[in-house]
């Protein structure tokens, strides 16, 4: 493991001083001048690499050293090639002379040199020249060249494709399409490498070519693929592996339908050709009539077909079983790609895909293979008029419920959903009903998937799901704890002898609480917004409040709630928003007791209560009963200070006739009385010393709210004024029990005085504290009748004589 020795090595490499470095360079140059390059040279080169790569700042090498290193690129010793390439990669780009040198001296581009040229490429032209050089090597290759010399060609080309597909000309593409077809479909079907049939006493004459075998040991009866084995391999069999490895990317880059204007003609052509081919059975003779691109497509199709068949065989080695799965994924992806390009292939392809689905859907260990299959159904199911219900039930119904703890499946499934969101919203809108299942990924591993949910959550917020979704989000830590318990109860024995019995685990196994946990674990929405005995559940899960997974989950909820509320105000009508306010008030006291969680949620609620009421002020009058009920409980001042403050504020601000005509004088009065009672209680001198003080902000908000309400119903003004003057008197006497800080007290008293003096002139108070809409939303600059420029012009023309 990483030791102090390693750390000091890195520090040394970073802090090496210039003189010592120069000495090192000259020693290295001397070593490289020698005829034999032995261990000391290699070690020094390695140290040079460490010195260069350990720091993020570039060092410069003396030019002689650079030249020597360049010459090592063509060394017959691989180690020297590797090291020189690695060192030169850490350097600034190669000069024109250096590039020329490489062209002339390195001959056929070896893998390390290609890596260097790629990494130092400064422009697309550089990449094009590497590309051209490689393809030249492909075309006119001497037959005596070693077997591995070609093999890096395709990976390098794939790299160029990734960054700059335009580097390949049409001719290049045609050439490569033809070679790919050869390697994929017509690779040798006998074992290479001089494999014998295994008998001991064999002479050269009895060396018969042995056919390749399948992964289960049977002799292969068809063309060579990556799932075929042999004692040794021929070069074209190696190229078969490399070709297939890059095939998907090649098809995506050059065969995608949206690729420029030229594809319009190719589309027409391929439609005609495709239908001709699909009527004839897939024998290679008829496809010889096709142009190279289409021929490659046809061969890719056949290759994938064969891979799917081969994956049904029982491999003898475990690593091969894993490879079969990966091959299935790749094959389905390629078939999908090919069918997107040529829709007529869908009818040939669907039977395979359907059969594959039928074969694999019962086995959860193939879940990651079923995702590309689901993508195929999504892309082509409508065209083939195939019923996809069972696919969605599996992907959204079963996978999240049973495989939520697999990080790779979670990543791939959520990615699948993200990339196809529009298609789902149009074609499979019922996916939103599976949100309880999808949220299981979040409950289990929040840090890893919260980013995906930031993108996905808005689409899950619909008028139908909004309320249940809010409850589910608030209880996500409970879901997290429940999933942990679910896993533990399957792993641990029923009773742990002498172990710390988890109370929550016992509760999970207890039949009388079964219903609570089953509700948490539900897969689909629609069976109720929440449960009555929610607080019971919270009590049962109390010890889970410090489980790391639960805490991590709780930390992501506020962010997601913000996203939820931001979305819901755009899709909900007033009735729904009113319901949500009720939910917020209700749930503010029913939350799992995780430190800081409750405070954070209250803060989110406060922020969005404010926003909702600002957008729809009549909500306050609408929900006045519940809001007053909340505001009338003095205990809320202490336990839910943030939310309480905002509730009082919205009551003060929006409970007026100008916001909603249903607001009556009696409503204002009853609100006033409720708030007044609370204010009296929290500022009474009767509070025993040592109890926690109400926050000053609550007091000032209450005072302001009372003043605002009084300004709308002038009979209430005397009552407020009385309280405010009493307040002044009490505080003149020094400290008070309900406010510990001197500065806060001064602020409260100052506010009180301001309000008191404002209320002495009721009509002024009214216009200040309850401004009419045309004052709060000025549009003089927009209204042509009162626009300032017009007025000024009028005045000017009046006052200035003509």
């Amino acid at each position: 493991m990483y030791s102090h020795g390693s750390e000091s090595l890195i520090k040394q490499a970073r802090e090496i001083q210039e003189p010592e470095l120069q000495k090192f360079y000259s020693r290295l140059v001397k070593l490289l001048q020698g005829k034999e390059l032995g261990h000391e040279t290699v070690d020094s080169l390695q140290r040079l690499h460490l010195i260069l790569s350990a720091t993020k700042y570039t060092r410069t090498l003396p030019s002689e050293l650079r030249t020597r290193l360049l010459s090592l690129l063509s060394s017959p010793v691989e180690q020297l090639q590797v090291l020189s390439s690695a060192v030169l990669r850490e350097m600034p780009p190669l000069s024109a002379e250096e590039l020329n040198y490489i062209q002339e001296n390195v001959g056929q581009l070896n893998s390390q040199t290609a890596a260097l040229l790629l990494s130092k490429a400064g422009t697309r032209a550089d990449l094009s020249s590497v590309c051209a050089q490689l393809l030249r090597g492909l075309d006119n290759r001497p037959s005596e060249a070693p077997a591995h010399s070609l093999m890096h060609t395709l990976p390098v080309l794939n790299t160029i494709l990734t960054h700059s597909p335009e580097c390949l000309t049409e001719d290049h593409i045609t050439l490569l399409s033809k070679r790919l077809v050869d390697w994929l479909r017509y690779a040798s079907i006998v074992q290479g490498g001089g494999a014998s049939s295994g008998r001991f006493f064999t002479g050269p004459r009895s060396r018969q070519p042995v056919p390749i075998a399948e992964l289960d040991g049977m002799v292969s009866g068809d063309f060579f693929t990556v799932l075929c084995v042999g004692q040794g391999f021929t070069e074209d069999q190696w190229m078969n592996v490399y070709s297939f490895s890059m095939l998907h990317h090649w098809l995506l880059t050059y065969h995608s339908v949206s690729n420029g204007n030229s594809t319009i003609e190719t589309d027409d052509r391929s439609e005609v050709d495709g239908s001709v081919v699909s009527m004839v059975s897939a024998t290679s003779s008829s496809s010889r009539l096709l142009p190279p691109k289409e021929r490659l497509r046809e061969k890719a199709f056949q290759y994938c077909q064969r891979l799917i068949e081969q994956s049904d065989r029982k491999a003898q080695k475990k690593t091969d079983t894993e490879l079969q799965k990966a091959c299935l994924v790749e094959a389905v992806c390629i078939l999908d790609c090919v069918c997107v390009e040529d829709a007529s292939l869908v009818f040939r392809t669907f039977p395979f895909i359907k059969a594959l689905f039928g074969r694999l859907s019962a086995d959860l260990s193939f879940a990651r293979v079923l995702l590309p299959i689901a993508q195929f159904y999504l892309n082509h199911g409508e065209m083939a008029a195939v019923d996809c219900e069972s696919v969605w039930k599996l992907v959204f119904g079963q996978f999240p419920a049973e495989l939520f703890s697999d990080p790779f499946l979670a990543h791939e499934l959520l990615r699948f959903l993200r990339l196809n969101l529009e298609k789902f919203q149009l074609g499979v809108p019922q996916y939103t009903h599976f949100f309880p299942n999808l949220l299981k990924f979040l409950a289990w591993d929040s840090p890893a998937v919260v980013d995906d949910f930031v993108d996905l959550l808005p689409s899950l917020v619909t008028p139908a799901t909004a309320v249940e979704l809010l409850h589910t989000l608030l209880d996500l830590p409970c879901l997290s704890a429940t999933l942990i318990l679910q896993l533990r109860s399957t792993c641990l024995p029923i009773s742990e002898p002498g172990g710390r019995g988890l109370l929550s685990l016992d509760a999970f196994r207890n039949p009388s609480f079964r219903g609570l946990f089953l509700f948490m674990l539900r897969g689909e929405a629609g069976s109720g917004d929440t449960i009555d005995r929610l607080s019971t559940l919270h009590d049962l899960l109390a010890e889970a409040a410090d489980w790391p997974r639960v805490v991590q989950c709780a930390q992501t909820i506020p962010v997601l709630l913000h996203i939820y509320f931001n979305t819901v105000v755009t899709v909900a009508d007033e009735k729904l928003l009113a319901h949500l306010i009720l939910v917020m008030l209700e749930r503010s006291s029913i939350l799992l007791n995780i430190p800081t969680y409750i405070k954070e949620i209250h803060r989110v609620f406060s922020c969005h209560l404010l926003r909702m009421c600002k957008l729809h002020p009549s909500l306050v009058v609408d929900q006045s009963h519940e809001l007053l009920e909340f505001a009338g409980i003095p205990g809320n001042v202490y336990s839910k200070e943030e939310l309480y403050t905002h509730v009082v504020w919205v009551l003060g601000e929006y409970l007026s006739v100008s916001c909603d005509s249903r607001c009556s004088v009696s409503l204002i009065t009853s609100c006033f009385e409720t708030l007044e009672a609370v204010l009296f209680e929290i500022t009474s001198s009767g509070t025993p010393p040592g109890t926690v003080c109400p926050a000053p902000r609550v007091i000032t908000t209450l005072m302001s709210a009372l003043a605002k309400l009084a300004s709308r119903s002038h009979d209430l003004i005397p009552r407020v004024s009385l309280f405010l003057s009493k307040l002044r008197t009490v505080t003149r006497g020094g400290s008070v029990a309900w406010c510990s800080d001197e500065e806060d007290l001064v602020a409260i008293v100052t506010r009180g005085e301001e309000l008191w003096s404002l209320l002495k002139a009721p009509s002024v108070a009214q216009s200040v504290l309850t401004p009419s809409p045309h004052i709060t939303t000025p549009q003089w600059h927009r209204d042509t009748n009162v626009a300032m420029p017009l007025q000024l012009r009028a005045l000017t023309s009046l006052t200035h004589p003509q």
């Binding site: 390693s6 390695q46 460490l50 690695a86 990976p155 690593t319």
Partner: protein, 200 residues
């Protein structure tokens, strides 16, 4: 293709301060992506190299925090491993995927597959369309070879002083960042070549 393969430290180690992450090996495949993008044309080569190193450091830090959070959540205790137990260490390793959004730090969205073997992290930055099942297998295979050939479970510094071995390993099993569909026979053949190189 795989854009980047790196080995770095994870979890608190005595040699480093808390939260600090040391990149032990990094290999970026292909050209520098800033060279071919429209913005950032005015950077000089030193700045480009600096930018690339910073991007690798960002990936290492993201994986570092992902490993830390994952281990915290699972609550598993880390068991000391000694050289010779590489296969066991891999079986016990934590694994996962981190999604990197476009621009943060690579131009396009990337998926970073990671393996946490005690205090070492192995990370592979893949393009999202890549076959992640194959990538996962390749990452495990590469990690096993690195652990074995560089004795990384021991206190030595071979990973720093013999980085050419990793280069050769990558040139066979992940040439230029290309994931390969290798059945056990192909893999054996390549691994024999690698072993022959390591023996020198």
């Amino acid at each position: 293709m795989v854009r980047c393969f790196l080995i770095h430290t994870v979890c608190p180690i005595s040699a480093l301060s808390a939260g600090e992450c040391r990149v032990l090996y990094s290999r970026v495949f292909g050209p520098d992506e800033t060279v071919l993008s429209e913005e950032l044309q005015e950077l000089n080569p030193e700045e480009r190299r600096l930018l690339q190193k910073e991007k690798v450091a960002v990936v290492a830090r993201q994986v570092h925090s992902a490993v830390t959070l994952s281990r915290e959540a699972s609550g598993r205790q880390l068991v000391e491993m000694v050289p010779g137990e590489e296969v066991l260490a891999l079986q016990d390793a934590d694994s996962g995927v981190v999604r990197l959004r476009a621009g943060d730090p690579f131009n396009e969205e990337m998926s970073v597959l990671w393996l946490g073997v005690h205090s070492l992290g192995f990370a592979m930055v893949c393009e999202p369309h890549e076959n992640l099942l194959l990538a996962e297998g390749t990452l495990r295979n590469l990690s096993r070879h690195c652990l074995e050939h560089l004795h990384m479970l021991g206190p030595g510094s071979e990973v720093l002083l013999k980085s050419s071995r990793i280069d050769v390993l990558l040139s066979r099993l992940l040439p230029h960042g290309q994931l390969l569909f290798l059945n056990h026979r192909f893999a054996q053949s390549l691994e024999k070549e690698v072993a022959a190189y390591m023996a020198k």
